[in-house]
């Protein structure tokens, strides 16, 4: 009875304040409503000339429908048209060249889809789909309306918490065994060990390591992170904070393989399938992903190392990436265009470093796409194809939880996880 009153009241009316007509069950919709512009006229849509008037028309239709008939059955369809058309434009050209306008359009599409899912009293499945849709907008779109998708996902997550009374199968703690990899435990040659230093002063770090561009492991500077203290990072903690969130996963032993691919799955699915799961799924790695932009709650658990202030760039320009995966993940030998602090939070990693001076012995790929990546398999080199490789001198280490490895810009590095591992990298200039 409540729903039919609700619908009839809203027909043929624009700019209505929806709060007056809500059935008591639609609590989440109330919350969602408060973060939307209060009237249609306040909902401003602005795009450059590059966006075709046809798709703009669909966007305006979606907005008009939201304020006049929010429960309109075709609103999901309208949103999907925007998503599908902008998705095709996102796949046109290289990712770097994609016009930001199309990414914004994609975010609008996701917004309207989420709103059509949230209407009324949505089932848990719909809320999950809405969270996934928010994530797609956050991952592939560009911020709109003061990052409304981020605010929406917070509301949705809280609703999920209230709705899930029984523990889902995937949340049963510890009933699944951790994958035990037969990972080879490397023995570090002391002559080649990366030097370690305890809490150096800014000056000391600059003069001894940054200016001469020497790798080092800094100890004792991240132990105060909430990730070690108030909220020690564990599988259960990550599930509770980010379990339903969709993230990009790399599948395949390394990105230079033909079989390598990326897929978008939830953190729960990643943990179940690639960390606790059976062997058959292959190696999966949540790698090089700006997880902390997507999930601000996790960003609270880490801190930017003070030494980054020695650089010329702004703090906002520092790229923070998450690296989360089981034992056996491999990043092939490669170099990056910025300075890097690699902070180890969970588990251990074997890392080998080569100076840019020995680049010619490392056989970088010819192609433009992979010219920053070596062709050599560091721990199993083909010495017939790459005879000069053994000539290249290197340093190595096993990075432990609490360590921060300084990788100077353009310094070649190879990384293999020895067990379940979570690292955080800071790229700065």
């Amino acid at each position: 009875m409540f729903f039919s009153l609700y619908t009839i009241s809203l027909l043929n009316q624009k700019s209505i304040d929806l709060l007056n007509f809500l059935p008591p069950l639609a609590q989440m919709w109330t919350e969602v409503r408060t973060i939307l512009p209060s009237t249609m006229d306040d909902f401003i849509i602005e795009f450059s000339e590059k966006i075709e008037p046809s798709v703009l028309k669909v966007l305006e239709l979606a907005r008009d429908q939201l304020y006049s008939r929010p429960d309109c059955p075709s609103s999901a369809e309208t949103a999907q048209i925007i998503i599908d058309y902008s998705w095709e434009n996102l796949n046109t050209g290289t990712w770097r060249d994609v016009d930001k306008e199309w990414r914004r359009m994609y975010s609008y599409g996701c917004l309207f889809k989420v709103l059509s899912l949230c209407n009324g009293d949505p089932s848990q499945a719909k809320v999950k789909e809405a969270i996934k849709t928010c994530d797609m907008g956050l991952l592939m779109g560009a911020a709109i309306m003061d990052n409304i998708l981020q605010r929406l996902v917070c509301i949705l997550k809280n609703t999920m918490k209230l709705k899930s009374t029984k523990v889902e199968k995937s949340e049963e703690p510890c009933s699944k065994k951790m994958k035990w990899e037969c990972v080879s435990e490397p023995v570090i040659n002391p002559a080649r060990a990366v030097p370690r230093i305890q809490c150096p002063s800014l000056e000391r770090f600059r003069s001894d390591f940054l200016d001469p561009q020497k790798p080092t492991i800094i100890e004792g500077i991240i132990n105060h992170w909430p990730a070690f203290t108030e909220h020690p990072w564990s599988i259960d903690y990550l599930r509770s904070v980010a379990g339903c969130r969709t993230v990009p996963i790399e599948v395949g032993s390394k990105y230079t393989d033909e079989e390598w691919s990326q897929k978008l799955i939830t953190v729960n699915e990643f943990i179940d399938g690639y960390i606790l799961g059976t062997e058959e799924k292959g190696v999966g790695y949540l790698a090089q992903h700006q997880l902390f932009d997507q999930i601000p709650e996790l960003k609270e658990d880490i801190r930017i190392p003070d030494y980054c202030c020695l650089g010329e760039g702004e703090e906002d320009d520092i790229t923070i990436n998450a690296w989360f995966g089981p034992g056996g993940t491999v990043s092939p030998l490669h170099q990056d265009p910025q300075q890097n602090f690699l902070a180890q939070v969970v588990g251990r990693k074997y890392i080998r470093l080569y100076s840019p001076e020995v680049t010619e012995n490392l056989y970088p790929h010819d192609s433009q796409l992979l010219h920053n990546t070596s062709q050599v398999e560091v721990e199993n080199p083909d010495l017939v194809k790459f005879p000069e490789f053994p000539k290249a001198s290197y340093e190595e280490c096993v990075l432990q939880p609490g360590d921060v490895l300084f990788i100077p810009v353009q310094h070649w590095h190879y990384v293999r996880s020895l067990e379940l591992s979570f690292s955080v990298s800071f790229w700065w200039s």
């Binding site: 008037p53 046809s54 290289t94 691919s261």
Partner: protein, 390 residues
């Protein structure tokens, strides 16, 4: 059977009398165009009752053998020939809303091609590009040209080809002897008089067919087809197709929705979701091989089809006409653009039953981004069919 015998037989089968007579004399006038797929702007059915049309619908304004149809995302253009001349009529998104209107500036045109904001019109001695989304149609570019001996279709024009953005005219080397050109979203597929295929543009999804993902600025031969005489080419969003003189279909490029007729992971996942397995974590068969990108031409095999004569590509779907007048479609189907009365995508070419069950012989096919337009004529009832009426 000679003409008189046909007439006599026709007279004894009242339902088919008119058909026989007309077929014998004036097939062209019985040709109709049908459309299916995305109709969000009324580009198929003028009254936009629904935004997805998943079985073929007659295009009321497009008939006659001279009629040419082209489609963009939001609109469709038809070159209509009447006794008073030819003109372009546009259905779909026009000047801010959905409608159907003729372009007066196109009187006397020979060919037309539509894109999101423009319609390109060729006349005997010139080609023009009109912007049609403002209050007044605006000529943005034109070029005088020698009337070529060869009748080439847009976007080819004498000396090169036309695109709806600056620089509008792109020259083509005369030595190429281009007879047909298909423009995809960011690549081009060209067919020469000798049956050779050249491609250029973005190679990011293997759509150039050279076996790698590098983009090319200059036209390059598709070497894998060397030695095969190609009769027709088509280009979609990120995929390409070519039909050989012998009736074989070769495709290459992106297969993310099965548009190449090769196994697609997303199509498989859609099937699994539709079946709603009890065990949510059901593993796929590990032996399943899916192809996302096919960088070399691959032969598309359609069971029970011996000859393909036409092919057309949308953004992520493909349509092909067989020698026996059947239409097969495959690829992305979310907007009904496959014409199978469903919104499912498929990676296996499937017959569009509509034409077959309505006794029609498909002649040609053209795709908009998310739709398919088909020209068909009434079929002569074959000796295999029962001749009594229903």
């Amino acid at each position: 059977m000679d003409h008189n015998e046909k007439l006599a037989r026709g007279q004894s089968l009242s339902k088919y009398f008119v058909l026989y007579y007309v077929l014998a004399c004036q097939e062209g006038e019985r040709m109709n165009w049908f459309g299916f797929g995305f109709n969000g702007f009324g580009q198929i059915i003028a009254a936009d009752v629904k935004c997805k049309v998943s079985t073929p619908v007659l295009l009321s304004d497009a008939r006659g053998s001279d009629c040419r149809v082209s489609g963009s995302w939001s609109s469709r253009a038809a070159v209509i020939h009447t006794d008073s001349g030819s003109r372009v009529c546009v259905s779909g998104f026009l000047r801010g809303s959905s409608g159907q209107v003729c372009v007066p500036e196109s009187e006397g045109c020979t060919d037309a091609s539509i894109s999101e904001r423009h319609v390109t019109v060729s006349f005997t001695r010139r080609v023009e590009c009109w912007e049609i989304q403002q209050a007044q149609n605006r000529l943005v570019w034109s070029r005088e040209q020698e009337s070529s001996g060869q009748d080439v279709a847009l976007p080819l024009v004498p000396g090169g080809y036309v695109v709806p953005r600056p620089p509008f005219f792109r020259p083509l080397c005369a030595k190429l002897c281009a007879v047909s050109l298909a423009l995809g979203t960011e690549h081009a597929v060209l067919l020469t008089a000798s049956g050779t295929v050249f491609t250029w543009g973005s190679g990011s999804h293997g759509q150039l067919g050279h076996g790698h993902l590098t983009s090319q600025e200059e036209a390059q031969v598709v070497e894998a087809l060397w030695g095969v005489q190609i009769a027709a080419v088509s280009a979609g969003g990120w995929h390409s197709a070519s039909v050989s003189a012998g009736g074989d279909l070769y495709m290459w490029g992106w297969n993310e929705s099965g548009q190449l007729g090769l196994p697609s992971q997303s199509v498989e996942e859609e099937k699994l979701r539709a079946r709603r397995p009890v065990n949510q974590a059901e593993e796929k068969n590990k032996d399943d091989v899916f192809i996302s990108i096919q960088a070399f031409p691959a032969l598309v095999d359609i069971p029970q089809v011996s000859e393909i004569i036409r092919v057309a590509c949308g953004s992520r779907h493909t349509a092909a006409v067989t020698g026996t007048g059947d239409l097969y479609t495959w690829g992305w189907g979310s907007y009904g653009q496959l014409g199978h009365d469903t919104e499912r995508s498929t990676d296996e070419p499937a017959l569009v039953k509509y034409f077959h069950s309505h006794d029609m012989r498909v002649r040609d096919v053209v795709c908009g981004l998310w739709n398919t337009y088909v020209s068909a004529v009434p079929e002569e009832p074959s000796s295999h069919k029962h001749t009594h009426t229903e």
